[in-house]
Subunit: 405 residues, 2 copies
């Protein structure tokens, strides 16, 4: 056997998702790309903001001597300082450069956080539905994902989370705004969660850490505020990226921020920097670090010119999709943030419904891919034309589904 | 305890190297940066070639729509094809795009290769002296580094390597040109190593893989050719990066190439792509992938304009340093490639000699950092002035060392 037994199993399971991509490619070849409505991937279709493009060009044109050089594993001092200042303002905590490790996106950040914190067999608690990649990341570092169902409205089930915290629990992982539900967890829930973690930590004589994965923080609609995990819970770490807020998913640039009030904040930051090196990231890409540092500084000077994509575009897409789905009879909560909508599957058999959508050339991800059968995820970070073009197909699919009942 | 016991130990041990950096910073603050001769880091001081800078600027100016988007985890199709074509020509093997995974540098590539291949407890054989990071990378994925001494001239001890191959050996890891010795392994040694791996694989009923870490391939002097692991050994994987040949260590761009003749070549490539995703790299940075693809294509059209730093600059630095050290009485082999020189420590106590060099404001890395006490590494990827300025100090240190005898 060439590859390890576990990787062979992962590759085989991973191929279910690949099959959907292949199905998309097959349909696009058959009917033309404009006739296929692909809502499967969270790949932002909104262009990076002009301020990003101008800053990137300025940095490349300036061509400073150390632009592409090695740097400390935790990142460029200027990038760490800028990220800390912005995050501290947003989350009302005195975050300093020394609390920040610049990373290869949020996925890189989660890997170094789990590598730093987890003992073999330690548990990571997560509320379902959840991003399926979390399971792989916990497993990479000897941890185990423990899944707790959310309430019917996809808010955190605090009692269930607390009773799931056991002697092996080290991390409680939240994702707000949530992929795939678009839910934003309110501050009271974060405060209650922090209290529960403190109680269980005291009982088992160990420190539990809240890890908040929040790459969608800036994508909140109708003026919704995303509560601050750092202000709500001293033992907390934020991981994030610029993939969504600047539409840079391919560049792999993000960060981990350790709450300065966390127990062992200093040794956690040191372990994150070491993990960044030994897991092979070494440091986040240097050119993008430089750009992010300048961009955040610029944003601080130009009040009202945020270094962020135009969120109203996503809100418009959400409203367009939600209106069409509602009039077709789908059952869902209006997403408060992120760019996913997570309706109920309107029949008993999930696979059959996904096939009914495929017959309409509509590609979505079944909820089982997020630990919650009976739902499906629509990633609406696509052209308006894709949404408009798909709505008749969504309507026909729910009509056909009714015939199965 | 905030971080895991293992990471706490790693952070504590890692601090020996950090202490050297801090010592460097202390000395530079005390005497001025130009009075401190820092040979501790392999951070190229030669600027990226103009062809790289022009291509980067052209790509940023063109600002194509998907420049910063997600892509397949294995990389941009154009980058995979270009890397395959160039590598195939260099190594005389029919490498295709499907055999390539673009990675976050060679360290990222090694991590995904080890993640893909190693079962818990599997051994990775390496010839000492070796890059100390290899031990961490094997450990990340449940593997164990098994160290085999090289011959006195730092060539591979083939008999010792063969007898070290046991029932748990999965990978034989080589680094050519070698860090820290500058040794290039000749083709006959690679062929003999491949035969030995085949014999042992047959005996234990498992496939052994040769992994060649070769970011210094283009940095070979006096017209030396770096033999081809891919042509010498069917079960082989090359990992490399553009960090040294294009002076881009901060950008984290490299690749893993699976020999198309390897057993399970297809499933290895699939596992590497999956490992790229789940370890959090997701994909190598997209802008740099685009630049590398264009750069290699351009190199193919402009014969005689290699997409590579001017290697004669490093050869000149090597010669300057070697001449000075030789006349001072140091004992070493002339490096055939890379940008490190690895002399014997001219006294019984290594630490005392490192301190004698520090008294001269000269910073180097002791051989114990590469698994071989009794030597030290000089990274000569520095200004000519640093080399010239340090030579009197090297001469005084060896004189003082003689007084200890």
């Amino acid at each position: 056997m060439a590859i390890s037994a576990k990787m062979r199993e992962f590759v085989a399971n991973g191929s279910m998702i690949r099959k959907m991509f292949e199905e998309g490619a097959r349909l696009k070849a058959l009917y033309g790309a404009d006739k296929v409505f692909d809502f499967s991937l969270g790949n932002p279709n909104v262009s990076p903001p002009d301020i990003f493009k101008r800053t990137l060009k300025a940095v490349v044109d300036a061509d400073e001597p150390d632009l592409h050089s090695y740097m400390p594993n935790a990142g460029l001092p200027a990038a760490r300082a800028a990220i800390a200042a912005r995050l501290g303002t947003e989350q009302r905590v005195d975050v300093r450069a020394e609390n920040i490790v610049v990373t290869c996106g949020a996925a890189g950040a989660l890997n170094i956080v789990f590598k730093a914190l987890l003992e073999p067999g330690d548990e990571v608690l997560v509320s379902a539905p959840y991003f399926v990649e979390y399971g792989f990341i916990a497993d990479n570092h000897g941890g185990k994902l423990k899944i707790v169902a959310s309430k019917p409205d996809f808010s955190l089930d605090l009692a269930a989370l607390e009773s799931a915290m056991g002697p092996k629990t080290k991390i409680v992982l939240i994702n707000t705004p949530n992929n795939p539900t678009g839910k934003i967890y309110p501050e009271n829930d974060l405060l209650a969660l922090a209290e529960a973690m403190k109680r269980k930590g005291a009982r088992y004589g160990r420190s539990l850490y809240l890890v908040s994965d929040e790459p969608y923080r800036k994508l909140a609609y109708d003026g919704a505020k995303v509560a601050s995990p750092l202000a709500s819970c001293p033992n907390s770490i934020v991981v994030s990226s610029y993939s969504k807020e600047l539409s840079l998913p391919g560049e792999r640039i993000g960060f981990a921020a350790v709450n300065p009030l966390a127990e062992g904040a200093g040794e956690i930051a040191a372990a994150l920097a070491l993990a960044n090196r030994i897991l092979g990231f070494v440091n986040a890409p240097s050119l993008m670090q430089k750009v992010i540092a300048l961009l955040i500084d610029q944003e601080g000077r130009d009040k009202g010119l945020p270094a962020c994509v135009d969120v109203s575009i996503y809100q418009r897409k959400r409203d367009m999709l939600a209106k069409g789905l509602k009039s077709a009879g789908y059952d869902f909560s209006l997403p408060e943030g992120a760019f996913y909508l997570f309706p109920k599957i309107p029949m008993a058999d999930d696979g059959t419904f996904i096939d009914l959508l495929k017959e309409e050339n509509i590609l979505v991800v079944p909820g089982s891919g997020f630990g919650v059968p009976g739902y499906f995820r629509i990633a609406y970070c696509v052209d308006d034309a894709t949404i408009a073009g798909a709505l008749p197909g969504f309507a026909r699919a729910i009509e056909k589904a009714a015939a199965f009942a």
